[in-house]
Every structure is written in structure tokens, then in C-alpha cells.
């Protein structure tokens, strides 16, 4: 194999190692970015929706108390806007089912909320429920707490999965960095090896050839540079040897 091929193969190997490591790192980094986006899309959206639902439930609870106290206009106004807010949050949560069993959590919220809503959707002001705080504490508040717990369950499961995903991201970032580190270390080792071979099989023989020529010119000593490889340097050494022999013949003539 010629020197040109050997040197080219060295650079090709180095380039391949770096290129593969680079491509893999880019792949892992883009995956990391996608995972972060997925984390936000999958879990954070559901957590945000759950927070909206809890906010709406708190407002509905206040509205029920206002209605019991006979404040019809303000109570109904708050109730309607809170109900809309809850449905908005619920819609987002229902559309964003990304975790196993998340549907059952969402269905549970619907069932509990429907039961809660059935208590205050009928008129309160002007009926026997107006001023009935026992009805509120026994039925309405209990039902309110049940819906709230079911929404919190949805929030908790998303929180848990988000934490797990975030922990996995650490592993992913490690996977994105490691090819680079391995590529740097292996390239360094390879460079040292390459440099050693260039020194031993290219620079060394050239120095020996130069020395041999020098000795021939000074003392007419026979050219005896030993070349181990079968490449251009061996051809060069053979040519020099022939040239010297020819020179000797010419001189003796």
C-alpha cells in the first residue's frame, strides 16, 4: 500500500470517527429538544388545565354561597363564567390524553363535576335552600371537594410523569454529550498513533535515506538504509541505490 493511501486512510478514519460522533450528537440533541417540547405539550398543558379547573371550582363554590345568601345576580354571573372556565379547562385536559389511564382520571372529573353541577344548576334563591347552610356543608361542599380531589389527581399524575420525563432528559443530555467525549478521546489516541506511524514509517526512513546519501557523498560508504515497508519510500531507496551504483561505475570508468 502506498504512502498516499496510508495517510489518506488515516485522515479518513479520523474524519469518519468525528463525523459519526457529530451526526449522533446532533441526532441526540434534536431528540433532546423534541423531548423538552413533548414534556411541555404532554404534561404541562394538562397541569395548566387542571389549575384552571380548580380556579373555576373555587369560584363556583363562592357563587353557591352567594346564592344561598340570596344574592342572585352576582351569584349567577360568577357561576356562569366559572362554569365556562371549567369547561374550557376540561376540554383541554380531555384533548391532551398522553399518559396511560389518564382518560379514566378525566372521565372521573366529568362524573364528579356533573354530580356537583346538578346540586347548584337548579334555582337556589327563593327556594327552601336559600339560607340553608346545612345543605351547603352536607351536600354542596362535599361534592365540591370530591371534584377538586379528582382534578388534583389528574394534576398529580401529570406532575409525576413530568418529573420522570425531566429525569430522563438528564440521561438524554448525557447521551448527547458522550459521543463527543468519546470522539475527542479516541481522536486524541488515534492522532498519537497516526503521528507515531508517520514518524516511524515516513519521517524515519527519509532521515535514514538522507543520512545514507550524506555518508555516501562523504566517505563513499555503501548505501544500507533499511526500509521495512513496500511503498514509495522503498522505491525511492532502490532508486537511490541504483543511482549510487551508477555513480560508482561512472567514477571507476
Amino acid at each position: 500500500m502506498g504512502i498516499r493511501t496510508k495517510i489518506f486512510s488515516g485522515f479518513l478514519i479520523l474524519a469518519t470517527m468525528l463525523a459519526v460522533a457529530g451526526v449522533w450528537s446532533i441526532y441526540e440533541l434534536s431528540n433532546l429538544g423534541a423531548s423538552v417540547q413533548k414534556l411541555l405539550d404532554d404534561n404541562y398543558k394538562s397541569i395548566s388545565a387542571a389549575k384552571t379547573m380548580i380556579e373555576a371550582l373555587e369560584r363556583e363554590d363562592s357563587a353557591v354561597l352567594l346564592l344561598i345568601l340570596g344574592n342572585w345576580d352576582e351569584g349567577r354571573s360568577i357561576m356562569n363564567s366559572a362554569d365556562e372556565l371549567f369547561e374550557e379547562g376540561y376540554k383541554i385536559a380531555k384533548k391532551n390524553l398522553t399518559i396511560q389511564d389518564e382518560k379514566s382520571y378525566v372521565d372521573n372529573i366529568r362524573a364528579k363535576y356533573d354530580a356537583y353541577k346538578s346540586l347548584w344548576v337548579k334555582p337556589i334563591v327563593g327556594t327552601n335552600r336559600e339560607g340553608d347552610l346545612d345543605w351547603y356543608s352536607d351536600k354542596v361542599h362535599k361534592s365540591f371537594l370530591e371534584v377538586k380531589v379528582s382534578v388534583q389527581d389528574l394534576m398529580n399524575i401529570n406532575d409525576r410523569v413530568m418529573y420522570q420525563t425531566a429525569s430522563n432528559l438528564k440521561d438524554r443530555s448525557n447521551r448527547a454529550i458522550m459521543p463527543g467525549i468519546v470522539a475527542i478521546v479516541s481522536s486524541l489516541v488515534f492522532s498519537l498513533l497516526f503521528s507515531y506511524f508517520i514518524n516511524f514509517y515516513v519521517a524515519g526512513p527519509i532521515i535514514r535515506l538522507t543520512k545514507g546519501i550524506g555518508e555516501f557523498l562523504e566517505t563513499q560508504k555503501d548505501f544500507d538504509a533499511k526500509i521495512e515497508t513496500k511503498d514509495e519510500i522503498l522505491d525511492l531507496a532502490n532508486s537511490i541505490r541504483k543511482l549510487m551504483e551508477q555513480t560508482k561505475v561512472n567514477e571507476s570508468d
Binding site: M1, D171, M178, V182, V189, Y201
Partner: protein
Amino acid sequence: MRPHVIFRYTGFVMLLNGIFMFISVIVSALYSDNSFFPLLYSGIVSTLIGIFPLIFVPPVTDINNREGFFIVVTSWLITCMVGVMPYVLWGGPFTFINAWFESVSGFTTTGSSILSDIEALPMGLLFWRSTTHWIGGIGIIIFVLSVLPYMGRAGMILYRTEISSLATENFHYRTKKTINILFYVYVTLTLLEIILLLFCGMNLFDAITHSFATIATGGFSPKNVSISYYNSPSIEIVIIVFMILSGVHFGLLFGVISGKISQIWKSSIVRYYIFALIAGTIITVMSVRMHNYDTWLESLRYSAFQIISLGTSTGFATADTSIWPSLTQLIMIFFTLQCACAGSTSGGIKVDRVVIFWKSFQKRLIQFRHPRAIVVPKIDKMAIKEDELEMGILYICVYMGVVFISSILLTSLGLDSLSAFSASAATMGNVGPGFGMVGSMSNFGSIPDIGKLILTGTMLLGRLEIFGLIIFFTVRSWK
């Protein structure tokens, strides 16, 4: 010393590692797991760096003993380092130290692990983990030489350095033939065990990985609870048989394969090896029957497996031996130190040296009674030379010294004395599990990083028969 010659031969070893990494890549692709890229990149790096010296350095056959010795030691060290790559690139529990520990443990066929949840590893990586056993079992150099027989004289020198000095005495073949024998016996045993395990109901992946670990007397299992996962007496019997066979001198096994069955029983070393395993099993059965198991059959089943597993330096487990009586644990520590025959894939002091030690003791005893008597100790009618006796005893002393020093160092890191001593003995003998916090159902993950480095040192010392590694790190020998 010609460094380029060493580079050329270690290049072959890296290339071999690369090939097995690519096989693991195929396994990873078949199971569509996430170890595909770590294995692929490791394979590419290993192959490219391995192939480069072959491009530059012309073939060399006239390597001297010193070069042969350095090729073997550097091959072990480089292989262990290359084996780190797939683990580190995959991540998870594998920090650099953990990956180094797992890699050295794999290649030296120790079988100790830092993993608490082995089954969480992707299949490709589990396959690579078992492959490290298989490559290490036969000795990387011998393996390479079997694949590349054209190396001629160079092969003989590498072989002499690689294989235990005791084993070379037992081979009656020329070296090249010996290498082929080792390779054929190794492959035949592996294939036979795979077939029998499949027949016993194990799936193909588990059968291959367990066979790799058994024949190499390694002990890595792809299951968290090792062989006890299957709870199958037939699987246990197959593994017991192959553990015993893997502990016998491969030259004798070749004799059996070639039809000379009686040859194996003529060897006093093998007779002692089998007798010791039977005696150890009987004592253990009686001990655990009284304390741990309700029936004799149950006691025999678990005792035989554990004693043979440790007595062959394999390290598989079917029971938690940490809760077994102290007498049993002491017997198992004895087997952890002794292990199996030279010329097999096992580690430890080796049965041959124990027999030599006993012969030397007998000689002294006779000379005490008859001071003028000339006693020539013999094994199988062959006289043991004085320097062989001395070397055998010296080896045992140094071996115990290393185990003792390693135990002290581990104790200073906060390990209890039983865990420290058994971890040192188990890694030095390339056995795997110890007792206490490194018991058969535990792992080495909780040991501090410095402790893991100490233990990888003892694994390499044990695998390279102590003096090999000491000479390598003695700078003067480089000159």
C-alpha cells in the same frame, strides 16, 4: 521492544471486539432497543482504530517473548477499555468507573456487577455484556490466533504468555494444534449448552447469553435473580454439567470428544477436582438441611448448584447464600479461593496448585521423618521439578497476600470485614459473588468508586496470574 509490532497485534484484538460489537448491534436492531447507536459507534471506533495499525505495519512473525508478553497484557487492558464504550455511551447507571468495573468483570470472566436492575438494560447491551465473557473466557489472544492461523511462530509466543504456565505442561500437542483444540472445545461446549438450554425451555436469547457465561465460567445473567429466575431443575442440571466441564482442562475435554474418555479419569488433578466438589456439596447439603431447607432434595439442589458455581469460578446463583450457615460460607470461601483446573477458563489459585501444595507438604512430612530420604513429588507419574513446587507455593502466598491487602483497603473504605474479604477473594479468583453486601443476590454498586478500582485491579491480577500484570507495570521491564 518494537511498539509498532504491539500496535499491530492489539489492532487485531480491537478488530475482534469491533466484530462482536456489530453482532450486538444486530441483536439491538432485532429487539428495536436504545443501545443501537452506543454499540454501533463503539463498533465503528473500535474497528477503525484496530484496522489502522494493520494498514501501516507490515506483517511480523518474528516477535520475541517480551513483545509477546506485552501484546497479551496490553490486549487485556485495551480490550477492557474498549469494552467500556458501549456502557458509557448508553448511560443510565454507567458512570466511567461503573462501566470500567462491568467491562473488566466481563472480560476477566469474573461476573461481578454494579447493576441492581439488570433487566432494565436493553437486549443489545445485555448481549454485549455476555459476549465480553465469551471473548475473555478463551483469552483474547488465543481467540485471535485461532481465527488468524497464518501468524505462525508469533502465535506460539503469544499463546505461551496467555495461558497459565501450569496448563502448558498438560498439553501433549504442538502449540498451533493446542490453540485449535481450545477453540473447538470452547465452541462445541457453547453450542451444546445452547441446544440443551433451548430444549429445557429457555428462550434463544437467554440460552445464548447463559451459555456464553457458563462456558467462560463468567456468571453474568440477563436476569436480576440469576438462574433462580427460571426455577427449573432441568436448566440447573444442564448448567451444573457445563460448569463442571468448563472447569476441566480443555486438552482433556478434547480427548473425551475424540473418544478417549478414560483419559479424563486418569488425571489425578481432575479426580481431586471432582472429589472436592462432591465433598463440598455433601457438607453443604448437611449444613443447609438443618438450617435452611425442609427436604434433602431441596438442600441438594441448591447446595450442589452454589458449590459448583463457586468451585468453577462461574458465579451463577439459585439461592441467597448470605443467609446460609457460617460453616457453609467458609466452605464456599475455600472454593472461591481454589476454583478449577489450569487449562480451563476458570480463575483462582487453581486445583493444580493446590495439589502441588499438598505434594510439597507430603514431601516435607516424609523428610521430617526420614531426613536423608530423597523424595520426588509426582503428579500422574510425572516428577514435579523443585522450581515448579517453589513457584506453586509462592503463587499461593502472593495470591493470598493480594487478597489480604485488597481486603484491608476495602475495609478502610467502610466495608465490613466479611464483605471486604469475600469481595477481594471473589474478584481475585474471577468468581463473582461474595458474601455480605456483595452476596449472590446483591451487587457491587454500593462499593465506593475507589473500592471498585481496587477490585478491577484484583480481577486483572487474577486473570493475568499476578506476575503478568506486576511485570507489565514494572517500568524496567519495558527496556
